[in-house]
C-alpha cells in the first residue's frame, strides 16, 4: 500500500535526490509563527518539568510508590507509536515537497491514525488508573501525572486538528503550500518530542 499509485512510482527516484538537495542550502522550515509557538511551548513545559524535578527530589519515596503502579510497557508502546507517526508525517512532508500529494495524503492519514491510537491507549490507561484507585501517599505524583499527560493529551488533539488542516491543504488541486505542510509537521514533532521527555520523567525516572 505504501508504494502508492502509478504516478507516484515514477517520481519516487527523484525523491532521494530531493533529499540530497535539501542538505546543500539552508532553508527555514515551516512558518516563523509556528516556531514562535513551538519554542514558547517548550519553555512552558520546561517550567512544569522543573517543578516536577524539584518535587520529585523532595518526596521521592511517594513518587516512586506512585510510579511503580504505572505500567512501563504501555508507556514504551505509546512512545514507539508516536515516533512512528512522526516518521510518517516527516515522509508526508518530503512527499508533499515532491508534489506527490496522493502519497503525502496517505502517509498523513497513517500518521494521524497512530495519533488517534495513542489517544485511545492513553485514555484507557487513565481509566484503569482511576478505577483501580491511587495508592495513598502518592497523590502528589498523580497530580503531576494527570496534569502532564492531560496537557499532552490536549496537545495531541490540537495536533490532530492541525494535521486535518494539512490534509485539506493537500487535497487542493495544484502544488500544495509547502510551508504550511511543514509547520503542521513541526507541531506534530513537537508533540512527539514532549512525549519523549514526559515518558522519561514520569515512567522511567528513579
Amino acid at each position: 500500500m505504501l508504494s502508492g499509485d502509478g504516478a507516484a512510482i515514477e517520481r519516487v527516484p527523484d525523491f532521494e535526490m530531493a533529499d540530497q538537495q535539501t542538505q546543500s542550502r539552508a532553508r527555514f522550515p515551516g512558518q516563523p509563527a509556528m516556531w514562535f509557538f513551538v519554542i514558547g511551548d517548550l519553555w512552558i513545559f520546561t517550567c512544569y518539568f522543573a517543578c516536577y524535578a524539584f518535587d520529585r527530589g523532595q518526596h521521592s519515596a511517594g513518587f516512586l510508590q506512585g510510579q511503580l503502579t504505572l505500567s512501563q510497557g504501555i508507556g514504551v508502546f505509546n512512545t514507539i507509536l508516536l515516533l512512528t507517526s512522526s516518521l510518517l508525517v516527516a515522509f508526508c512532508v518530503q512527499a508533499a515537497r515532491e508534489g506527490a500529494t496522493a502519497l503525502a495524503r496517505r502517509l498523513l492519514l497513517l500518521g494521524g491514525g497512530c495519533g488517534i491510537v495513542f489517544l485511545l491507549v492513553k485514555a484507557s490507561e487513565w481509566y484503569l488508573k482511576i478505577s483501580t484507585g491511587l495508592p495513598e501517599g502518592s497523590d502528589s505524583f498523580f497530580v503531576y501525572y494527570f496534569m502532564l499527560t492531560g496537557l499532552h493529551f490536549l496537545h495531541v488533539c490540537l495536533g490532530l486538528v492541525i494535521l486535518a488542516l494539512v490534509f485539506r491543504e493537500l487535497k487542493k488541486a495544484g502544488p500544495p503550500h509547502v510551508a504550511f505542510v511543514e509547520s503542521g509537521a513541526i507541531y506534530w514533532h513537537l508533540v512527539d518530542l514532549l512525549w519523549i521527555i514526559i515518558f522519561a520523567l514520569l515512567y522511567l525516572l528513579r
Binding site: 512558518q31 516563523p32 509563527a33 509556528m34 514558547g40 512552558i44 517550567c47 497530580v143 496534569m147
Partner: protein, 258 residues
C-alpha cells in the same frame, strides 16, 4: 450616511474650534482606557486588597480573620465595583477590530460578546463581594469567614471556563482573518494563555504544592503569561487602530449585522 458626512469625519481637522478633531477619537478613548483599567486593577488587587499574590490556602483562622479585617480590603472592592465596567470598553475595542476582519463571520463576534458578558462576574466581582462580606462583618463565626475566604479565592483564581472560551474565539478569529489585522503569533499566544488556564484546574483539588491556588504553576505562571498576553494584545490593538484606513470610518451599518 452620505459622502458629505464621510468627508466631515475625515476632514475633522478643518473644523475650527474642535479641540479633539482626531477622526478615530472614540477608539483612542477606549484604547487609553485599557492601561488605566489595568493600573487600577493592579492597585485594587495587589496594593490595596493584597489579593494578588494570593495567601496560602492552608491559612490558620486567625490569619484569615486578620486578612478579612485588613483596613483597605473593602476599599479595594469598592474601587473594583466602580471600575469593573471599563473592561467593557476594552472588549468593545476588540470587537470593533474583529468586525474589520475579512473571512470572519459575525458568529465569532456574538460569541465574544456573550462570553464577555458572562466572564466578568464570577471571575472578578463575585470574589470581591465575598471579601467585602467578610470585611463588612468580621464578627461572623470563623467557619463562615473561612468559607468566604475560600469562596473568594477559588472564584478569583479558579474561574476558567469563560476566559478559555474567550481565548478560543479570539484565536479562531485571528487565524481565519485574511486581512491580518492581528498578527498570527498573537493567535498562538492566546493558545498558551488557554493552556495555562487549564493548568489551573487542580486549584479545586490540592491545597499545597505548585497546583494550589497560590502555587507556582497554576497562579504565577498563569498570571505571568496572561500579563504578557494582555500587553501584546494592547500593542497589536494600537497598531491595528493606527493603520486603520480613514475611509473605513463611519461606514453605514449592514442591516442585520451587529
Amino acid at each position: 450616511m452620505t459622502g458629505a458626512t464621510l468627508a466631515s469625519i475625515a476632514g475633522g481637522e478643518s473644523r475650527k474650534g474642535r479641540l479633539l478633531s482626531n477622526p478615530k477619537l472614540d477608539q483612542w478613548i477606549c484604547f487609553w482606557s485599557i492601561p488605566v483599567f489595568y493600573i487600577l486593577f493592579g492597585v485594587i488587587f495587589v496594593l490595596l486588597g493584597r489579593i494578588m499574590p494570593p495567601p496560602t490556602p492552608t491559612m490558620s483562622t486567625e490569619n484569615i480573620i486578620a486578612f478579612m479585617t485588613s483596613p483597605n480590603l473593602s476599599l479595594a472592592v469598592v474601587l473594583l465595583a466602580l471600575s469593573l465596567g471599563m473592561y467593557a470598553l476594552n472588549s468593545g475595542l476588540m470587537l470593533t477590530q474583529m468586525k474589520r476582519m475579512v473571512g470572519v463571520s459575525p458568529v465569532l463576534r456574538y460569541a465574544y460578546i456573550a462570553v464577555l458578558g458572562v466572564g466578568g462576574l464570577p471571575g472578578c466581582l463575585f470574589p470581591g463581594y465575598m471579601f467585602a462580606l467578610g470585611a463588612f462583618r468580621p464578627e461572623y463565626d470563623p467557619e463562615i469567614l473561612a468559607m468566604l475566604y475560600d469562596l473568594g479565592f477559588l472564584c478569583f483564581v479558579g474561574s476558567l471556563g469563560c476566559f478559555i472560551i474567550q481565548y478560543v474565539v479570539f484565536t479562531i478569529a485571528v487565524f481565519l482573518d485574511k486581512r491580518g489585522i492581528f498578527p498570527k503569533w498573537l493567535g498562538y499566544f492566546s493558545i498558551w494563555t488557554l493552556v495555562t488556564e487549564l493548568v489551573a484546574t487542580p486549584v479545586f483539588i490540592t491545597q499545597t504544592g505548585p497546583y494550589a491556588w497560590d502555587g507556582l504553576l497554576s497562579f504565577y505562571q498563569g498570571t505571568l503569561i496572561w500579563v504578557a498576553w494582555q500587553t501584546s494584545v494592547t500593542i497589536c490593538l494600537y497598531q491595528a487602530i493606527k493603520n486603520q484606513p480613514l475611509e473605513e470610518l463611519g461606514l453605514p451599518l449592514k442591516e442585520n449585522e451587529l
